[in-house]
Each structure stands twice: as C-alpha cells, then as structure tokens.
Symmetry: D2
Subunit: 133 residues, 4 copies
C-alpha cells in the first residue's frame, strides 16, 4: 500500500508503527473527501434548510481531517504534542459530524456513507492516540 | 468504491461519468498525500540541499491537487470553466513535480513512488479535461 | 507590511516586484477568508435554498485562493507556468463568485462585502498575470 | 475592518465578541501565510540542513492555523468543543514553531518575523480560549 511505503522510505521516523500510521492517514483523507462531498450533496437536497448543521460540521470535519493528514504525513523532527492535539481535535470533529450525519442516514444515502467514514476515522484516530500517549 | 458512491448519491450532477470523476478525485488525493510525504522525506535526506526544487514542487503539487480534489467533489451549480482551469493547473503541477521526482528516483525510493503518483494524477486529469472540454 | 518583508528576506527570488507579489497574496488571503465566512452566512439565511450557487462558488473560491496564496508565498525554484495556471484559475473563480455575490448584494451585506473582496482579488491576480506573462 | 464586518453580518452567532473573534482569525491567517513563506525562505538558505526542524514546524503551523481560521470563520450551528480543540492545537503549534523560529532569529530575518507572528497568534488563541472556556 502506497501510504505505508512512503512512511517507510522516509529517513526520519516517529517510532509509530508505519502500518498504523498509514491506516490513520488513509482514514483521514477518505473522511475529508467524503465530508466535502456530503456537504455539497446536502446543499443540493430539497430540505437543505434542515441540513444546515450537517453542512457546517461536514465542512469543519473536512478541514480538520485534511490538516491532520498532513501533520501525520511528516516525520522530520516529530513533535508528539502537536500530533496528539490534532488527533484530539479530529476525534471531536469526527464524533460530532458522525452523529449528525447518522441522524440523517435514513433519508440521505450520502449522510449514511459519511457517518461511516467519520466513525472509521474517529476509531483510527483514537487507536493512534493510544499508541502515542 | 466510496468516492463514486458519494458522487452518485448527490442530487446534483455534472454530466460527467461518476466512475471517471471518482478515479480523478482518488488520484488527486493520493498525489496530494504522496507529495506531502515526499517533501518531508526529502527534508530528512542527507543531501537536502540538492532536493530544494523537489521539496518546493512537492509542496505546490500537494496544495494544488488538494484544492482540485475539493472542487471536483462538489456538483451543485457546476461551473465547467473553473473545473477546467484547476485541472490545467494540476496537469502543470503534476508534470513539473513528476519530472523532478523522476530525476531523483534512482537515489530515493520516496521520489520514485511520488513520480508514479504524479504521473498517474496528470494522466487522470488529462482524461477528465478531454471529457469536460 | 509583513507580507512584503517576508518576500524580501527570502534568499531566493522570482524577479517579480515584492510589493506587487505581497499585494496579491494579501488579496488572496482576504478573499479566501471572506468567501469562507460568506458561505457560512448564506447557510444561516432563511432563504438558504436560493443561495446554493453562492455557497458553492464561495467554497470553490476559498479553496482556490488559499492554494494560490501558498504557491505565491514560495520563491525557491520558481516555476512561472504553475504560477500563471493558478492565477488563471483564481481569476476564473473570483469572477464567477464575485458576480454571484454581487447579484445578492442588495439583500445580504455579507454578499456585498464578499463581491468586493472577489473583485479586488480578481483585479490583483490579473495585474500579476500581466507582470509574469 | 472586513473580518469583523463579515462576522457581524452573519445571521448566526456564537456569543463570542466579534472584535475578538476577528482579531484571532486575522492573527491565524497572518501566521499561516508567514509560516508558509518562512518554510520556503529556510529552504533557500545555505544552511538548509540546520533548518529542518524549522521548516517542519513551519509547515505544520501553517496547516493548523489555516484550518483553525476556517473553523472560526463559521458561526452556523456553533460547537464550542471543536473550536476549543482546534485552538488548543494552534497554541501547541504556534508555541513550538515560535520557539524554533526565535532560536534562528539572529541569523535569519524571516525567522525573526515568523517568531513574532507565531507569538502573536498563540497569544490571540489563548485569549479566545479563555473567552470560550
């Protein structure tokens, strides 16, 4: 898998298992893209006025996951405190967005898929948080 | 595949084949992440001074691919001119970064992998450009 | 002004007037932030369903301007083709978003302010495009 | 000032003083742009090998501040927990990057300016954290 290969060929290292790190980066990029697409799909729904909170948390979650994926993709001069703080923000954003999307999952397939991506990403971030604690 | 499912469940549409659109979005997110990781790996190499141009084009390519992936993830009120302009910028960035990384591929495995991601992304963007021309 | 000072203290250079470059970077960051805020303000309006196109172009314009500001903030191994391609995408995004926001300016002060930011940014990008042609 | 005007014309609100919120958003966007420019200036210095940690923290700080500025620019369906988590990540990133840049301030004017931007941003984020606690 490409993400883990890129981690392994970096002369620097963070002491974190490359497979775990790669899995979290992949979950973050999938979640960020899915949230961006879900925000746009919600915007085109007839009931857009009922999806304001969903769109807003989607946009936040997309931005926070994208920034976290970038921080985790760097291994030079590793700073565990910054990694931990971003993972905690991600857990918060994914939990909030995942719950909001789950509440619309019955009516909108994009919300159901987005809730899944958020939950998977939250779970992956918690796993990495435990490993870098 | 998640990306294509998200495109298909959007009430709006762009007239572009969802499978093609999803393939390009995936190539863009892979390229953006790979370029971010390659810039960092170059930064940790002993010969970092010889990799300045590689780091700079990696950083540009990461930013441009990430922005393009977001634009393509939206289907509401589709504007083909903006899509085309971003795809053209991406082709430019991926071609430049891919050529630079390829020139270091023999010495650095991360550059070899990044050149591959850039070439795949450039090819995908050209395919979509032809479809939205 | 900070932006121009940062450009001047970079050992690399692009041959572009630092004052002009700084003015464009500042216009891009203002436009990106304003479009992000306008998208959110539109989302909270009663008539959100009539503002879908405005929200979508705001989000695109915010992403494209942010990526362009980053590319222009780098001077190492300057590539005029990438700069030009991003400036052209920006002109396209700012013109589209500025026109859309202007059409709501009478009803929404945030759209009026955002149209101003888009027009200023489009103008600045065109000025730089002429200088790097 | 534009940022505060955009906050005030948003139909939604967060209960946070618009002037304070605008000051923090402005500090974040200045810090993000300055860190992007400092990373590139470091990359072009003769002693780039001694500036690896500076470049890496610059890149992290730029990404984290940019994402935080976006989260703070949204007021719809305000979630104080996400705001707080991002402000805490920002404080961490700005403190780390500011200290690193300060250690090179004597030799590189761009590091001196960047340390200032990081310290100002850290201070602004702490002020807002106290207000939303």
């Amino acid at each position: 898998m490409g993400t883990a290969d890129m981690i392994r060929t970096n002369p620097a290292g963070t002491g974190v298992d490359p497979e775990l790190l790669a899995r979290v980066i992949d979950a973050l990029t999938v979640c960020s893209q899915t949230c961006t697409a879900c925000a746009d799909a919600c915007l085109s729904e007839d009931m857009v006025a009922d999806l304001r909170r969903c769109i807003r948390t989607d946009l936040d979650c997309a931005d926070i996951c994208a920034a976290t994926a970038r921080v985790l993709s760097r291994q030079t001069a590793y700073e565990p405190e910054i990694t931990r703080a971003m993972l905690e923000a991600c857990v918060q954003a994914c939990a909030t967005c995942g719950a909001e999307c789950a509440s619309h999952a019955e009516h909108h397939e994009h919300c159901r898929l987005c809730a899944e991506a958020c939950h998977a990403c939250e779970h992956a971030c918690r796993e990495l948080l435990a490993a870098v604690a």
